[in-house]
Symmetry: C2
Subunit: 402 residues, 2 copies
């Protein structure tokens, strides 16, 4: 596997575009991803019971396990808009199909932004017409920009899987994502769109996606708040014309490995670009009794406002880490926890190692912090991805609406 | 029942004092509460598995269901200090007993502050000697001051229960508390000390305390983080010489009602004085399927960083309220939720009531915000108490250690 350029349009037969249709005042706010031929498609969506109308439509659309395009708007979540929201989601999908001259059932929709405001359908329809003409094989970055809200950086990646196709190139995977706020564990907590030219059927595609999402996007938290709009969609259009990828083959392993790299890369990018974040934080749990405890422990530390504010202040206040583990409703031995920060041991048997505070404060100034915790009660491990919480986070979210 | 003056020393036979022993540089950091005679005593403590050595000692001491004094330090949690922490907790208790010339088993200990630092025992012992001589019937305020950490205001209250004793005065209840940060649901999440001169046995006292704490302190959240030190203790010294208060009597009702008022008052005071808070927020849930769902829903909204930052910015971003309910793992009908802010309807059947944003922004500027939510799936109700999250909260917690 190797990293390549091109983002979501790196795999054969995918085009993309991004444009400003007027939901936001001047930034791009409408993205379109298109496959030359209908693609096997799997999706994972928010487990929030309050789901956006876009997510609800996709859940219906994906019964067919196939799609050809995804139209996404940012700046408006189209959630909590009642029947009008449902009508608008359908209209976005059908109007895009009309402009692209494809089957209406083949267009998925996604959205992110403010909840409870009607979509400006006139602007959006003009935008859809416009963007359909802009589709390009180098359109990934424009699309990646158009799905952002409070994100400060575009998030895209592409990899060459190293799996041979029947064409001269290997199978590729490309992806774009947005994150930033309202980002919490339990299903994807963001928008992420992944394309591949692999020939693979739904069962294998869905299983690979779910496996990868469980250890990446689902272990991501910026603020513990889960959105009604979280969406991860993967489209596989088969244009590499490889022998179909099946379970229990080296190709399936390679494909999953490459897909995992893509998801992990985007997960870290989203964590590092959390609203107001100044650093990427990985919480690695070892020695848990079972995988559920390992995940819960990692998320408990990653979700603690007090741990995250301490990290923001480069403050070696390790007691907050132990306290958050104690509150996590998992099996621990209260006197048997070890912890390190960027490999510097700070806690052994739940008490201070008498580390040098000056040294640790210096370590805490780094841009990437890994907190390693050994619960010493079993053999299971898990990693959560997050960021610090800054005054900037509050500033952003106190006035996002207005 | 009526509110009276005197705080924790209002009930007969209680004295208190507060002093600065040197844990903090200049503020009071040591508090002593003393009853002229041994008092029936019930306590509720943190459910955090990481418990401070002080809490662990109290759990042993309270098997006797009796105590005569509580010595409390602020500025140091005495948590995660291993065997030395346990020795120090015991020494604080026994040295206090020696200075007061009472049974060593009769002294409870409590603490709040930084985790993982050794207690400065020389200073503390000097402080204990000093404070034992300062005990006074008007010492409530000094003690209330001495238990604070980042709190900005003293929290004390006293009530006359209206229940006759055999002396000329009614039975009284007095209390002091501290809160501010690391405040989350699930057991008391703070320090609160309650005194009463009622004659009541342990069963009744403990049951009354537990009932009141469940709907007050346990429904309080400032930041979702649970401390290893949370402690609520009630001492009943019987000096009102009333006929013993028993279950299923008008006196028990009156007593519980007065105790509930005391706990609710302190809960609101703590919420309003949350670190960096600019307003008190009550989240009232109605129409839940059962009491567990009602509490979980109330806490989910009260714990949402996004709801709390929006409240800080006086931003009518109601979608975040619905989103937090959808993520709360309770039974809802996604299209059937009603919500109001300070009685102004903002959501009906999960969509906007087309309220005036200007009017709502004005309402949101008030110092006390009540969010009322009807889930419309049952008959159960619950209220959670919290505050907004401000940039100041982050500032305080980024540098609390240093």
């Amino acid at each position: 596997m190797k990293i390549i350029k091109g983002g979501i349009t790196a795999p054969r037969g995918f085009k993309a575009a991004g444009t400003c249709c007027g939901i936001k005042s001047s930034k791009k706010d409408l993205a379109l991803i298109f496959s030359d031929k209908p693609a096997v498609t799997a999706g994972l969506f928010t487990t929030n019971q309050i789901k956006s109308a876009h997510v609800l439509l996709d859940l219906v659309r994906l019964r067919k396990k196939e799609s050809q395009a995804i139209i996404t708007n940012s700046g408006n979540a189209n959630a909590c808009n009642g029947a009008a929201g449902r009508d608008n989601a359908l209209e976005m999908s059908e109007y895009t199909a009309k402009c692209l001259n494809i089957d209406g059932q083949g267009v998925l929709v996604a959205s992110t932004g403010i909840i409870g405001k009607p979509l400006p359908m006139n602007e959006i329809k003009k935008g859809i017409k416009d963007i359909s003409d802009k589709l390009a094989v180098d359109g990934s970055k424009d699309a990646a920009e158009a799905i952002l809200t409070t994100d400060s950086a575009v998030k895209e990646i592409a990899v060459d899987t190293g799996i041979k196709g029947r064409t001269k190139d290997d199978i590729k995977i490309g992806a774009i994502a947005k994150g930033s706020g309202m980002i919490a564990p339990n299903m994807a907590t963001l928008l992420a769109f992944i394309t591949t030219d692999a020939c693979i059927e739904y069962e294998e595609l869905f299983t690979a996606l779910r496996e990868c999402v469980n250890t990446t996007f689902n272990m991501l938290t910026v603020d513990g708040d889960m959105s009604p709009n979280d969406t991860v969609i993967i489209m596989a259009n088969g244009l590499a014309r490889n022998k179909r990828i099946k379970f229990n083959t080296p190709e399936y392993e390679k494909f999953t490995c490459a897909l995992n790299h893509v998801c992990a890369y985007l997960t870290k990018k989203i964590a590092a670009d959390g609203e107001g974040a100044t650093k990427l934080v990985e919480v690695q749990i070892k020695g848990a009794r079972n995988i559920k405890d390992a995940r819960r422990a990692a998320k408990a530390v990653a979700n603690s406002n007090l741990v995250k504010t301490a990290l923001n202040g480069c403050d070696p206040n390790w007691g907050r880490i132990l306290s958050s583990l104690g509150a996590a409703r998992i099996k621990i031995k209260p006197g048997k926890i070890d912890a390190a920060i960027n490999s510097e041991p700070i806690v052994h048997n739940s008490i201070s190692t008498n580390f040098s505070p000056e040294k640790l404060r210096k370590i805490l100034k780094e841009k990437e912090i890994t907190i390693t915790i050994n619960l010493n009660v079993g053999d299971y491990a898990s990693t959560a991805y997050t960021c610090d919480i800054s005054e900037e986070y509050v500033k952003i979210n106190a006035h996002y609406h207005t």
